[in-house]
């Protein structure tokens, strides 16, 4: 019976989509360019896409360009702009209203900072490990030391390089 409920759920989702789509309408712009720019830092809250309100082009709908949710958000941005708020204040206001799910990228404070620090930390750790390994492996056991420490002549070096090129991957 689960298949039935699944089928129903999918049918309901399609019906919802169709409902939103059926008149094949979108409103004309109705928001400022500045709102759109700030909107690129706010996630569209339609729950149907992972796009920002500013760049929302909600896949699969009958529209391109911002969906109704995104447009409402952009108009809200314009209201904040009219009050003279800065970009950061507006983003903060949206986070207060919708929760941290409105971020397009994690905030560089609180737990969000972890997301930003993680790649930096494991890059540093990774490089440290590789450099450590290279140095460790570079220490050759005495028996493996080159038999003739004399510097190879330039011609020899070239011949060796050519041989390497021609025989190795």
């Amino acid at each position: 019976m689960r298949a039935m409920t699944n089928a129903k759920r999918i049918a309901a989702a399609i019906a919802l989509l169709a409902l939103a789509a059926s008149p094949l309408v979108i409103a004309q712009v109705g928001y400022s360019q500045r709102a759109k720019e700030i909107g690129t830092h706010l996630k569209c809250q339609c729950r149907g896409c992972d796009m920002s309100a500013g760049l929302c082009a909600h896949p699969g709908g009958s529209f391109s360009g911002p969906c109704d949710t995104a447009k409402a958000m952009l108009r809200e941005v314009d209201q904040h702009l009219a009050k003279g708020e800065t970009e950061q204040q507006i983003i903060d206001a949206f986070v207060a209203e919708y929760g941290p799910g409105v971020y397009m990228e994690p905030p560089k404070k609180g737990f969000g900072l972890v997301a930003w620090l993680m790649p930096v930390v494991y890059s540093i750790v990774g490089f440290a490990i590789v450099i450590f390994i290279v140095r460790k492996w570079a220490v050759r056991p005495p028996s493996a030391a080159p038999a003739s420490p004399a510097a190879p002549s330039d011609a020899m070096e070239r011949a060796r390089a050519q041989a390497d090129r021609e025989t190795e991957d």
Partner: protein, 686 residues
């Protein structure tokens, strides 16, 4: 047919269990009959899965609307082409399709190697059967595709029920690429099972020699090729169908497909360290293990809906099964490693910091960092919910900021790595090898700057692309020159001969060239622009060098949908260039659904991407949304080269016959000839 299908699936499960348990017994007893019978059970499992898959297709093609799966994913008017694709458009069918593709690989392996690698194959068979048991458990007991519809009648008794028509296929999936993208990606995901099985089997069996690493590498390349193609086709599908003007949105499902690709790519490089120098055996085995685990994790992310995504049609309750399977696999890998780790003893020794070896180490580091960055970013919303009870979303801007530097560093190594000699590279050879590439790179960047591509990261990317491109040209040139001197063939023929003699090395360079093209395309993303306008017939709008004029609109009725079509004339420099026809389709089915058909005018310079965005409600005129995306076409061209390069690398090396020279000999070839008269010499490896 549904009962038949159900039965074959169940029988496949039984056969897989026999192949698994019998296989373990065969390894213990080494009884030849038992070995043979478990191998045949493995083959029977695959055949039964094929039959079950065809049974689902039969139900789809015969419009059997008593079947829940057919009702949910098909309808009478759906064309035959998409009825094939309906198999993988839903959860149950997708998982069966996974089993199907896995079986294609497994049956090939079991048949091709039936008389080879005698000590290794029983282990491989057991591991493959184990993976099959997991997916067959899902197919049989969790997400069975053969469920019939039933309703409770007036007497309160369940009775079968047949619908008149189905709900139809999701319009997003009614696009030719959707018929080829999932099979490719799934072939990638499933394909990584084979190298995993060989690696784990070699470890468990303590298989002597290096044969297993060659087998593992070859099968990894096959899977890698499908995975690359699947990812690029997916990107193209997103670009051409979703109508948002982009091709990569760092959606969790996209990320999931990238993860095994990254570790697989790392493995294809570091495996050379093992083959040439006997180094990094432990690392390689774990890379193969991780690649397989990431494939399962990727399927889990795609199928379980644990991270919300546009692929929401794949949501279900199969999460715990995948977590359990991941846990068991990890445990087995770890146990095998701990028990037999001395088998992987390597002779790790480096002669110099500036060598091919160390460049591979950094290459692997970067791929691993990229993989962990994508993985941790994808799972961060889940982590943040665990730790803070608030779900912090992570979107495309985050991934772009993190991945651009990593991608550029990898691109840099693509150019540098192949020029470094094994063991040690002298300062002199560095100068000789890097001089021209650097000059070409700088020229490219300066040229791009004057062409208007003025963005720091993009310029750096284009510089590196030209740099890497020239290193590849030099590699071909140098090798071809040697062959030309020996054989007197033309330069082009020499380059061809060179590639055929060491397919793996030069195939690799062709893949690198494909990646250069992809990166050129990615560099263009910084210059995307767009415009949107409600237009009356005859109105125009400008975007970059193009002027779009709405000429007219019409409606066309097809069997499965009706479309509203805008007819847009494109002008460049006031000259008519072409007509574009963006559409909006209203699909039939019991539920109405709509889809967008994007019209794209694509050139090497830019893509003009036009979407009919619907009717403006107030003015009641059509809204046209246009994007100008520079250099996108290079990405798809790069994809073609990547596939060609991989195919070249998979071909066996041509044996080079010495002594066919018609021109004066160089000293080296004369010596070689004198030493080996009439003997063929096999260059390179494999």
């Amino acid at each position: 047919m549904d009962v038949f299908g159900s039965f074959t699936l169940l029988l496949a499960f039984v056969c897989a269990v026999y192949a698994f348990i019998g296989g373990i017994a065969a390894i213990k007893t080494r009884h030849p009959l038992l070995v043979k019978s478990t191998r045949q059970a493995g083959i029977a499992t695959c055949v039964l899965i094929f039959i079950a898959t065809f049974a689902v297709e039969y139900l789809l093609f015969t419009d059997n609307f008593s079947q829940a799966y057919v009702v949910s994913h098909s309808n009478r008017d759906l064309s035959a082409f998409y009825k094939v694709a309906a198999l993988w458009s839903g959860q149950e069918g997708s998982l069966l399709f996974w089993s199907f593709l896995l079986s294609v690989y497994i049956i090939s392996v079991l048949i091709v190697y039936r008389n080879k690698n005698g000590e290794l194959m029983p282990y491989v068979g057991v591991i493959l059967a184990g993976v099959q048991i997991f997916f067959l458990t899902l197919n049989n007991f969790v997400e069975n595709p053969f469920k019939t519809l039933a309703i409770v009648n007036a007497n309160g008794v369940l009775e079968p029920f047949t619908r008149m028509d189905g709900n139809g296929l999701n319009p997003l999936l009614q696009y030719p690429e959707m018929v080829i993208h999932p099979p490719n990606l799934y072939s990638g995901y499933t394909g990584f099972t084979i190298p995993f099985a060989f690696a784990l089997a070699a470890l468990l069996a303590r298989y002597p020699g290096e044969k297993w690493i060659h087998l593992t590498r070859k099968w990894t390349m096959v899977a890698w090729c499908f995975q690359s193609l699947g990812i690029l086709l997916g990107a193209h599908w997103a670009y051409a169908v979703l109508g948002w003007g982009g091709y990569w949105g760092w959606d969790p499902v996209e990320n999931a497909s990238l993860l095994p690709w990254l570790t697989g790519t790392a493995f294809l490089h570091s495996v050379m360290m093992q083959e040439k120098r006997g180094m990094m055996k432990v690392w390689n085995v774990w890379l193969v293990f991780c690649t397989f685990l990431l494939c399962i994790l990727g399927t889990f992310l795609t199928r379980s809906g644990v991270v919300s995504s546009v692929h929401a049609f794949a949501n279900s309750h199969i999460g715990p099964w995948f977590v359990a399977f991941l846990g068991i696999t990890l445990f087995v890998c770890f146990a095998a490693y701990v028990k037999n780790r001395d088998y992987l003893k390597s002779e790790n020794m480096l002669d110099s910091m500036v060598s091919r070896e160390s460049s591979f180490l950094f290459n692997n580091l970067l791929f691993l960092i990229a993989c962990i960055a994508v993985l941790s970013g994808t799972l961060f919303p889940v982590f943040s919910e665990w730790f803070t009870n608030n779900r912090i979303s992570v979107g495309a801007p985050f991934f772009n900021k993190i991945m651009i530097p990593i991608g550029l560093a990898i691109l840099f190594l693509t150019g540098v790595g192949p020029l470094l000699a094994w063991r040690k590279t002298s300062a002199d050879s560095l100068k000789r090898n890097f001089g021209w590439p650097l000059i070409v790179g700088l020229l490219g960047a300066v040229g791009a700057f004057f062409l208007g591509y003025r963005n720091g990261a993009s310029l750096l990317c284009l510089f590196l692309c030209c740099f890497v491109f020239w290193t590849i040209v030099e590699e071909f040139y140098r090798g071809a020159k040697v062959i030309k001197a020996r054989t007197g063939m033309s330069m082009m023929m020499s380059a061809h001969e060179l590639s055929m003699r060491n397919t793996r090395r030069y195939g690799g360079y062709v893949v690198h060239f494909g990646m250069v093209l992809v990166f050129i395309g990615l560099a263009g993303a910084a210059f995307n622009s767009e415009a949107q306008k409600a237009m009356n017939i005859g109105d125009s709008m400008k975007l970059g060098p193009y002027t779009l004029v709405l000429q007219s609109a019409d409606t066309k009725a097809e069997k499965n949908y009706t479309a509203q079509r805008m007819i847009v004339e494109v002008l460049k420099d006031n000259k008519q260039l072409m007509m574009l026809y963006p559409e909006k389709r209203q699909f039939q089915g019991t539920e109405q659904a709509a889809g967008t058909m994007v019209a794209i005018y694509s050139t090497l310079q830019d893509d003009l991407y036009v979407v009919y965005a619907g009717m403006d409600p107030e003015a009641n005129v059509p809204v046209i949304h246009a994007f100008l995306n520079p250099l996108v076409k290079w990405i798809w061209l790069g994809g073609v080269w990547i596939v060609m390069g991989t195919l070249l690398a998979l071909m066996p090396n041509r044996r080079a016959a010495l002594g066919v020279a018609t021109v004066p000999e160089t000293s080296t070839s004369t010596v070689a000839q004198a030493l080996t008269p009439g003997v063929t010499l096999r260059e390179g490896h494999d």
